[in-house]
């Protein structure tokens, strides 16, 4: 596997605030990594460092390049949609395509136009005349027409209704993603993307709490739904989180084999959201 992003001891400080604190990770080609964290956890700062929009301490290599110092070269093979990266409202769709075609060597205008034909975005419309959902469709059409190795999405569906959100991820998977491409995505709507992800990373207070493949989550983490004496026995095995639901105890275990828990109640793989809450609460305690 080729490592597209390689971070070793990456930190970013804003005065006394440590937005990203000594973080190390790798992202391999052909993966879809979800970067999950609460507000202010350092997600956007980390993405900005990856995109070369901000300088940082430590060693960070993206596609073999120093992102901050070789940003222009990097952006030929990397795309991003950020919730704050708003398309200019004054521009016409045709002008936008013409401009991107002129400055981006890996952009196919024909491909973008094909994507746009499947939407209700008119080619002569100005961005200010489009709804928020249509603007996102336009942005995604441009991004999908760029032959990039790494796509970074920072809260790409923020403010969109459920239909647009579903369509967005469906287009992304069906029309864009392949083994040559890699996607790094952050969102608060974890439930909507957890089925797409191949890998997951939790970040809180600038530190990584979890960096694992989705396949390994079922082996490493298990959730037990139990009650009564079984609940007491299970609590003795050291769950990392617990809560009550409909009078039953829900216990989350890390590194405890399913064999040890069988017979104590119903076993299942925890959702990413539950795991995330458990990890963040655990880190705060």
């Amino acid at each position: 596997m080729t490592s597209l992003v390689n971070a070793r001891g990456v930190s970013k400080h804003y005065g006394a605030v440590r937005a990203v604190d000594d973080v190390s990770f790798e992202i391999e080609q052909g993966r879809i990594l979800g970067l999950i964290g609460p507000n202010g956890a350092g997600k956007t700062t980390l993405l900005k460092a990856v995109l070369g929009l901000t300088d940082c301490e430590g060693q960070l290599s993206v596609l073999g390049l120093d992102p901050f110092r070789q940003r222009k070269e990097l952006l030929r093979n990397i795309c991003f949609i950020a919730d704050v990266a708003v398309l200019p409202r004054w521009i016409r769709v045709t002008q936008l395509l013409e401009f991107v075609e002129a400055v981006h060597p890996n952009f196919s205008r024909k491909r973008a136009e094909t994507f746009l034909q499947q939407t209700s975005v008119r080619s002569d419309a100005k961005v200010r005349e489009l709804s928020k959902g249509m603007v996102t469709q336009l942005h995604l059409s441009i991004i999908m027409a760029i032959d990039a190795k790494l796509l970074v999405l920072d809260e790409p569906t923020l403010g969109l209704d459920i239909i647009f959100r579903k369509e967005f991820y469906s287009n992304l998977l069906n029309d864009y993603f392949d083994e040559q491409r890699t996607i790094l995505i952050t969102t608060h709507q974890v439930e909507e993307i957890e089925n797409l992800l191949t890998d997951i990373m939790f970040i809180n207070d600038g530190r990584i709490l979890l960096d694992a493949s989705m396949d390994s989550l079922g082996d490493d983490y298990v959730e037990l739904l139990t009650s009564g004496d079984n609940a007491l026995k299970a609590k003795g095995l050291g769950p990392i989180a617990e809560h009550e639901i409909f009078g039953k105890s829900v216990l989350l275990f890390e590194g405890v084999s399913r064999e040890n828990l069988e017979g104590l109640g119903e076993l299942r793989t925890p959702s990413v959201a539950d795991l995330f809450v458990a990890k963040v609460k655990g880190a705060r305690q």
């Binding site: 795309c79 991003f80 950020a82 200019p88 002008q95 400055v103």
Partner: protein
């Protein structure tokens, strides 16, 4: 590389409609003014017949050139004034608008460097806007010459003799190109300053750009009893070393029965060599370069989120 700059300047043209709306508006005003003047002149039929007769039979080619040049000069100054105001507002808005409408992160997601972006905005102010203004001046001249020719013909005069045979188009247009671009180069340190303010300020770029230009001379005057900054900044606009020494009195000297061709040639009054070899021109370019670099630095390193 050049394609990038062309695309970036085209983007400026799309975004800032005032780049072409302003020259078109001035051209319309000039043309309407000419039409109004011609209609007003029609009220004085007798005097008009006499004037056309005199211009055709008594005045020489040089005098006719002089009159047409004076007319050209009047309309061109209007364009220059409009161009100056347009360039100030354009350069102040150019790096501020993309932050205000939050599109900067989209622009920065494309493989275009901050230097290319900022330099394209400087080139738009120094090359593109003047080029469009010069084009508008030329078209306005031609339209107004055609309108005037039709009017002269309707009044029984010969447009071929009075206008097209005498009009110094090449002289006027070349002089226009020299003046417009020399003024753009001369004022380039201001453009660099405006770009820097546009990249730096969080609000009110117009106020932030002009406040220091007013306050610093005041502070210097009060505390140092000198006016060097005011002279360097405000004095600059009045002393462009482009004009050849003109003996104005010759125009009014009654001993000169006729004006000479040199006196009515705009080009003859310009000294481009003096302008381009003047130390102040080069100091201005260096200051423009430094301030543009500062604008690039701010766009590159400012945290926009």
């Amino acid at each position: 590389m050049i394609n990038h700059y062309l695309a970036l300047m085209k983007r400026e043209f799309w975004e800032h409609r005032s780049i072409w709306v302003t020259p078109v508006a001035i051209a319309s005003v000039v043309t309407l003014g000419t039409l109004a003047a011609l209609m007003f002149a029609g009220e004085f039929a007798q005097e008009l017949d006499l004037a056309i007769f005199g211009a055709q039979n008594i005045a020489g080619d040089t005098e006719r050139k002089g009159v047409l040049t004076a007319y050209f000069l009047g309309s061109s100054w209007l364009f220059l004034l409009g161009l100056g105001i347009l360039t100030v507002f354009y350069s102040l808005d150019s790096l501020y608008a993309e932050r205000k409408d939050k599109s900067i992160l989209f622009w920065r997601s494309l493989p275009v460097t901050d230097a290319e972006t900022v330099i394209s905005k400087l080139l738009t102010a120094v090359l593109l806007i003047p080029a469009i203004a010069i084009g508008a001046i030329i078209v306005t001249h031609l339209v107004n010459l055609v309108v005037t020719s039709i009017w002269v013909a309707m009044k029984g005069g010969s447009a071929a003799t009075l206008i097209w045979g005498s009009v110094p188009l090449f002289d006027n247009w070349l002089a226009t190109v020299v003046v417009v671009y020399s003024v753009a180069i001369w004022m380039s340190p201001f453009l660099g300053w405006f770009l820097f303010v546009s990249a730096y300020t969080k609000r009110a770029p117009l106020l932030m750009a002009f406040l220091p230009l007013v306050l610093v001379p005041l502070v210097e005057g009060i505390f140092f009893r000198s006016g060097n900054f005011a002279e360097a900044v405000w004095g600059r606009s009045a002393k462009i070393p482009l004009f050849a020494s003109i003996d104005i009195e010759r125009f009014f000297d009654e001993n000169h029965a006729r004006v000479s061709d040199e006196m009515v040639s705009l080009l003859a009054h310009l000294d481009f060599v003096q302008f381009i070899s003047h130390i102040d021109t080069w100091i201005g370019l260096v200051v423009c370069g430094l301030l543009t670099t500062a604008a690039i630095y701010v766009r590159r390193y400012r945290d926009e989120s």
